[in-house]
Each structure stands twice: as structure tokens, then as C-alpha cells.
């Protein structure tokens, strides 16, 4: 088992970077009740990858075949601006707008992949393939995650205030729209890069389940971040370690472990109340 893990250690390192970045941002995603914004952004990112592959398959903008992240980033950041500016449009409630974005982006992604050259082979971009993560990929992920995490460490106070009580933050002179957009941008960046390797389902898992585990275990913001990170990293290591020797898909295995950890956290919470 250990040999098998060693064989894919670069993939594990990359997965741990994704788990770390998503689990930090996930605390805001869960507390701000924008879980489905995260899902919609992940789908937009996958639609961007599909669009890049379709365009290059049609002989247009050939370099996109090697760098589908360009269109993934473009669509995700467009989504970020849209959602950060308040996705409610007239009589349409915000969650309906998010639902429309999610459904259309998912369908468009599948349709484009179906018509892209070697479409079946490219399905992997939508579903993710963490075992295929290389050292170069991990370095790209680190180059995204480190600035994002530094920004979150540096501007924790600002992100917390505008998330917790935006009206009061505004009266104290905080540029709430700017900080909201900044927060969403960090989310969009991490999702767009993580999506290439981990796929929609695993990215969504890392954004939600570890944060839920953290909130169940801890009663402070610091503790919530800590347990969110720990549970994401533990789920990644255990899921990876179990899936490789047993020849199971790694993404679902990691998600299953995340689910078990969330249930354990729930039981701990129940015991604490007694």
C-alpha cells in the first residue's frame, strides 16, 4: 500500500494543496450560505475547460488545448463578478439565479465536450483526475493557493467583518463591495485552478464538508478554520491511501472519508451537549 502511495505522491501533494485552500475558503462559503455559489462557480470553470477544448478541436485558438485554464478562469471570474455584485435580478431570487447558472453551465460543458475532438478522453477534465497531478501541476496549485491564503491571513479581519455584518462594516467606512468582490475573487481563483485536477464533485466537497466538520467541532472562528483544514487534509490522505491500493476512484473515496469525518464531528457535538 505504501509503495502505491509513494508512486502517486506528487498527486497526493497536489490534492493536499487543493484540500488546504478549499477548506479555508469553505468556512466563508458555508457561513455566508453561498455553498451553491461555490458549486455554480465550479460548473462555470468546467464549462470554460470544455469550451477551450471544443474551440481548439474546431481549429480555433489551438493553444487553448494545452491551456484550458485560460477560459476556465475567464468564465469563473465572470461568475465571481456576477455573484459578488448581488445575483438577484429583479423578481428572480438569488438562489434561482445560482441554480440557472449551475444547470446551464453543466449542460453546456457536457454538450461542448461531446462535440470536442477526443471528447471522451477529455471527460476527465470535468470529472477530475487527481492521480494525474504532476509536480508541475502542484507548483501551479501552490502558486495560486499561497497568495490566496496569505491574503486571507492578512485580511482576516476585513473578510470576517463584511461577512458577519456588512451594514455596520459599511458605517465604519469599510468598502463592503470591494471586500466582497475580493473574497469572491479568491474563491474563483482557487476553484478555477483546483477544478482542472479535482473536478466539480471533489472541489465542492472540499469547499463544504471540512467547513461543516469544523463548525460542528469548534465554537470559535480560529478553531473552525483549524478543524476544517485538519479534516480536509486527513480526508485527502486517508481517501487517497485507501483508494490507490484498492483501485477505487480517489475523488469519491476522499469525499466518503470527508462524510465520515463530518458524521463523527456531529456525534462529538451531540456528546458535548449532554
Amino acid at each position: 500500500m505504501f509503495d502505491a502511495i509513494l508512486l502517486f505522491r506528487e498527486a497526493l501533494y497536489g490534492t493536499l494543496v487543493i484540500a488546504l485552500a478549499c477548506s479555508v475558503l469553505g468556512v466563508y462559503v458555508v457561513l455566508r450560505r453561498i455553498v451553491f455559489v461555490g458549486a455554480a462557480l465550479a460548473q462555470l470553470s468546467s464549462a470554460g475547460i470544455a469550451l477551450a477544448l471544443w474551440l481548439s478541436g474546431q481549429g480555433m485558438i489551438l493553444w487553448l488545448a494545452d491551456r484550458p485554464i485560460a477560459l476556465a478562469l475567464l468564465l469563473t471570474l465572470a461568475g465571481v463578478v456576477f455573484f459578488a455584485s448581488g445575483s438577484s435580478r429583479g423578481r428572480i431570487p438569488p438562489d434561482a439565479t445560482i441554480g440557472v447558472t449551475y444547470a446551464v453551465a453543466a449542460a453546456v460543458g457536457i454538450l461542448l465536450i461531446a462535440k470536442a475532438a477526443h471528447g471522451e478522453a477529455h471527460d476527465i477534465f470535468l470529472q477530475g483526475n487527481i492521480l494525474g497531478i504532476t509536480r508541475a501541476d502542484t507548483l501551479i496549485l501552490l502558486a495560486t493557493a499561497i497568495p490566496v491564503l496569505l491574503a486571507h491571513a492578512l485580511f482576516y479581519k476585513e473578510f470576517l467583518f463584511v461577512s458577519f455584518d456588512r451594514e455596520t462594516a459599511r458605517t465604519l467606512g469599510f468598502n463592503v463591495d470591494f471586500w466582497n468582490l475580493f473574497l469572491y475573487l479568491t474563491l474563483g481563483l482557487v476553484i478555477a485552478f483546483a477544478m482542472q485536477f479535482a473536478g466539480v464533485m471533489l472541489v465542492f466537497n472540499f469547499l463544504v464538508l471540512p467547513a461543516v466538520t469544523g463548525l460542528l467541532v469548534s465554537r470559535s472562528m480560529g478553531g473552525t478554520f483549524m478543524w476544517s483544514i485538519i479534516s480536509a487534509l486527513v480526508a485527502a490522505v486517508i481517501g487517497f491511501s485507501v483508494s490507490v491500493p484498492l483501485d477505487l476512484p480517489s475523488g469519491p473515496a476522499i469525499i466518503a472519508v470527508s462524510g465520515v469525518l463530518a458524521v463523527v464531528a456531529f456525534l462529538i457535538r451531540l456528546l458535548q451537549r449532554r
Binding site: R32, K157, F161, D165, T168, L172, F174, S220
Partner: protein, 281 residues
């Protein structure tokens, strides 16, 4: 007396939608003003203009230099799912002083604890915010507003959803802060019967109209009947003013202009045997 905020023929609204027009009034230092009206009348719009988060569509809103507000939002604007301690929430009132990218220090923590003691809940400093009662949460938000050493304390519907005991305690605390600390206080509420017995001046906002004056000036049958557009009586029970709408013999309340008034749902804090029924403002 120094005027802290002055509205000069100000028209307020959002985009092309005018909410209130031609407002002219001032808020002097040391004032204790209740801004009262039904939901949607424009109270929050006035509040936003005072807080400088809304620019007037026309006219001028002047603010005294170095004015610092302590803002207490409506309780439901705050997200209680955040796992925050009471003292951490109060420290937020000093975030603008701490500087970009810096964390609160020991002096901020001490100031937050002092502010909690000031509003009578020093012992709750390390409790989780979401474990507090409605009245304790409101005291926490007031402590947060005070920790920044404001010139003006602004409270938006501070007693919304509270029972009679908590309402009385919060309003008494606010009055005490005004009298003891000389703090200028603006309190927005839809409940005239509650506010009228605590503040010194009242601004009535309703039906597109605006009237401001001392409590004695506003709490008169003629002024209130004119504003509500239904016959209204002002009674006194044990020194407390109670506003009641006059009931017609056939049971319907008809406006002066013959229209039925829009029914309101609020039940005021004071339950009395005064004939007629209370008016929701």
C-alpha cells in the same frame, strides 16, 4: 448648540425612486430623537443619509466634522451562525481604528470588555454570541457601537421581536446612556408607543409625510390624526403616553379622506384597557 447633522431641502431615494422629498431638519448635539414610522416609510433611508451611506438625490445633508457614529443594526442583519465570542464581536467596533491587515491587540480587547461592563454584561464576554438571549444580543451590539467612542449612537429597531421585559430593559439602557454619558441618540422604530415614552424628540415618517418636534408637539391628537389619516387619541396611563385609533360605531376605521387605512399588524408594548385600539407606527 452644535448641529451634528443638517438636512436642507434634501430629497432621498434610490436611483429614480424618490422615497422622501424636501426634508429640512437638524440633529443638535445631545439630542435624543426617535425616528418613527411604519415599515417602508423611509426611516432606514433617512438613517442611511445620516450615516453617509446614501447620498441625497437633491438638496444637502451636512455632517459636522469628525463625527463618529456608533451603529446598532437590526438584530436580524447580524449572522448568528458565526462562531464568535461576545468580546470578539464587540471588538469589531474598533476595526476601523486598527488599520488595514492588522489584528486587534490587547488594548482593543480591554476596551471591548470595558464596553461590555458599561452595558451591564461584562460576565458574558467569553460566551458564544449565538448562545445569548435577544436582549443580551442587543446589549452586545450596543457595546460594539459604544466601543468606538462615538458622538452619536444610532439604533435601528432595537426592540424588534423582543418581549415586554427585554424591550423595557433595552430602552431604559439607551435612555441611561443618553442621560449618563450625554450621548446623542437616534433611535429608529415602528412602535410609537414604545419610543414616545423614552425619547425627547420624535420625527414621524409616514404616507410620504415628515413631521419633527418635541414629544409634546408630536404626541397630540391633531398632529397624529393628520399623519395617520385616521382619528387618533393620545391618552395617558400612569404617566405613559398611549396612542389609540378612535373606533367608529360601525366598527370600521375610515380615513379622513374616506379611504380605509392600510391595516397594520404591530401590537405595541403597553397593554391597556383604553377604548379603541392601538395604532401601529
Amino acid at each position: 448648540m452644535t448641529q451634528l447633522v443638517s438636512f436642507e431641502n434634501a430629497t432621498l431615494g434610490y436611483g429614480r425612486r424618490v422615497v422622501l422629498s424636501d426634508l429640512t431638519f437638524s440633529i443638535p448635539e445631545g439630542d435624543f430623537l426617535g425616528i418613527v414610522g411604519p415599515n417602508g416609510a423611509g426611516k432606514t433611508t433617512i438613517l442611511r443619509a445620516i450615516l453617509k451611506t446614501l447620498r441625497p438625490l437633491a438638496g444637502i445633508v451636512r455632517h459636522a466634522p469628525n463625527l463618529r457614529y456608533g451603529y446598532v443594526p437590526q438584530r436580524d442583519q447580524v449572522d448568528y451562525s458565526f462562531p464568535l465570542k461576545v468580546v470578539d464581536v464587540v471588538m469589531m467596533g474598533r476595526y476601523d481604528r486598527i488599520g488595514l491587515g492588522r489584528r486587534p491587540g490587547e488594548s482593543d480587547r480591554d476596551a471591548a470588555r470595558a464596553s461590555l461592563a458599561h452595558v451591564g454584561i461584562a460576565d458574558l464576554a467569553d460566551h458564544p454570541l449565538n448562545a445569548l438571549s435577544g436582549g443580551q444580543k442587543q446589549r452586545t451590539l450596543i457595546a460594539r457601537a459604544l466601543v468606538g467612542k462615538p458622538n452619536v449612537l444610532i439604533l435601528d429597531e432595537p426592540t424588534n421581536g423582543m418581549d415586554l421585559v427585554a424591550t423595557t430593559q433595552i430602552l431604559s439602557l439607551v435612555r441611561e446612556l443618553h442621560e449618563r454619558d450625554g450621548l446623542t441618540v437616534l433611535m429608529v422604530s415602528h412602535a410609537l408607543n414604545e419610543v414616545a415614552n423614552y425619547v425627547e424628540r420624535i420625527a414621524l415618517v409616514m404616507n410620504g409625510g415628515f413631521r419633527i418636534g418635541t414629544v409634546d408637539e408630536i404626541m397630540s391628537s391633531s398632529v397624529l390624526s393628520d399623519m395617520y389619516r385616521i382619528p387618533v387619541d393620545v391618552d395617558s396611563v400612569n404617566g405613559h403616553r398611549i396612542v389609540v385609533a378612535r373606533r367608529n360605531p360601525d366598527g370600521d376605521d375610515i380615513a379622513h379622506d374616506g379611504r380605509r387605512p392600510v391595516p397594520h399588524t404591530h401590537a405595541a408594548a403597553s397593554e391597556t384597557a383604553v377604548p379603541g385600539h392601538e395604532v401601529d407606527v
